[in-house]
Amino acid sequence: MGKEAILRVDGLSMYFPVYRGVLRKKVGEIKAVDDVSFDITRGETLGLVGESGCGKSTTGRAILKLYDPTAGRIELQGRDITELEGDELRRIRTDMQMIFQDPQACLNPRMTVGSIIAEPLDEHTRLKRRQKRERVRELLDAVGMNPDFENRYPHEFSGGQRQRIGIARALALEPKFIVCDEPIAALDVSIQAQVVNLLEDLQKQHNLTYLFISHDLSMVRHIADRIAVMYLGRLVELAPRQQLYSMPRHPYTKALLSAVPEPDPAREALRERIILKGDVPSPANPPSGCNFSTRCPIAEDKCRREAPAWRKMDGGRFVACHMVQ
């Protein structure tokens, strides 16, 4: 690609300890995120997809340092932020923001929309009241809302509007990088499109970089430039959009794509489905070898013994599978 990487994640792991017994001895770990590496270039959208519980949200939070990663290294604009703490961390937070899934749960119902959006400004800037108000109105306008709404309360808005407020708040500090954690999952179909369009417009205007976490493969296909597929805490495949959707390599990616229903009965009828057996294993007790080996239709003995390496393929594709040549 040749473009500079704004974010570089190398071997990121996030384990949650499991305690048991009278003395709360640590008896194991939930490997929510296990040895994940990728980078995102400036202005790009990286889609992160996977089923619930696969660790995609945890990855997003660990990158924003909302958790302390167990291992690995996170670099933002060339700076290692893995070990940052306190004030330094606070300062770097202005560069990276997050948009959450449930806008209702994230907006304080007792604050006006204006003060919700102004909150990060209070925290990180020394703007005067007037300037702050200007900025808030500007942001509301930018997310397609009437600036006069600043004195209303969140409950007066619909889900889509609330998500716009959440986006305005995330934009307040002019971040470079935004983690969008399932930003449209709670919205109706007709509203999803509005929000996605808004995110795309904002990206163009402000040269934003997104990590777009979603379980909706068709929406990710629309918004993301490259897509990473996650399964049970690990990345299984990462490829540019076109390549991933037209020619998935990893058996899990294939199964995932085939499971997405198509709004077209003609094509639906022709599609060949790969139905995976069973459920995702518990991350507290992952299978040996390849994590996907228990459900993989083409798994061989080797898969159950050895974890496959994260290999770089042609055309910017990465894949972790013994069976992919």
């Binding site: 109706d188 929406m219 229903p261 198509e262 459920d279 995702v280």
Partner: protein, 345 residues
Amino acid sequence: MSETASSQSTVLEVKDLNTIFRTRDGEVHAVNHVSFSLDTGELLGVVGESGSGKSVTMMSLLKLLPSPPAEIVSGEILFEGKDVLDMSDDELRELRGGEIGFIFQDPMTSLNPVFTVGYQLIEALREHLDISKKEARNRAAELLSKVGIAQPEQRLKDFPHQFSGGMRQRVMIAMALACEPKVLIADEPTTALDVTIQAQILELVRDLRRDQGMGIIWITHDLGVVAGIADRVIVMYGGQIVEHATVEALFKDPQHPYTRALLAAMPSVDAERSERLHSIAGQPPSLNKRPMSCSFAPRCEHAFGRCSEENPPLIETAEGHQVACWLEHPQYMKPPSEMQMRETF
């Protein structure tokens, strides 16, 4: 088309159903003049966004809505020719779970967390069938294995939280099928599930439908799901049916602007990727007034004078294809320019 489509007979017929909620802030007209029918062995898809009245309609069928605040103001719900609204409590209970099975959206909350899965299954069986506890237990285990749950005897003793989401939905399906109902109403049964699990459940329903031949009403907001399994589709908006067609006709020739917009707003994993998603401006309607005009008019690109003055009736534009839109109304003279616009879709 379903395999059993040949031996069709109407099992459920809904005529002009109106349901309102009486709240402190006034009445909410959740279901307005809804009519449809379901044949045996048929799968009727009901599509609509949240608040479109699709769930309320189906809950009204079995009077499952809490009353107050909900009230079925008028209409007829004929199950095998008998009006559900006139039934006694006992008859109604016989219908619920006996003749009509229900599956709900969220398998996490739809099962009682403090009773074992076995208890909840057996309870349903013994309510409707005159069988002993032991027989009921055997039948429950059978049902579990039928919906693809391994070691059914063991799992009867487990509590709902010990099942994964997909397994729980299988339990719900087993419960709904317990008494071999003639009609199964599935209210967004896969919305809370992951796509791979959704694919499993869809596969399961296809199999069950082939074996049991019951009529199914499948409520969803996902046009993709409907495309794969339904015979006929109803599209709801603002508590009303705006379009009603066979699945092929609907996707090939969507007639209501809302249906078209909805299809355009959905990205696909296979089809060509458009540069920009087609969004529907504005917000869904609030239902605090009886619809006096087309409820989609404020968001409709093609709305004209009459749309905001009069509520369009459902008219048949082709065999089995109905739509509620003034644009399709025979009285409407389409100006050429608008004809043009439609072509561009």
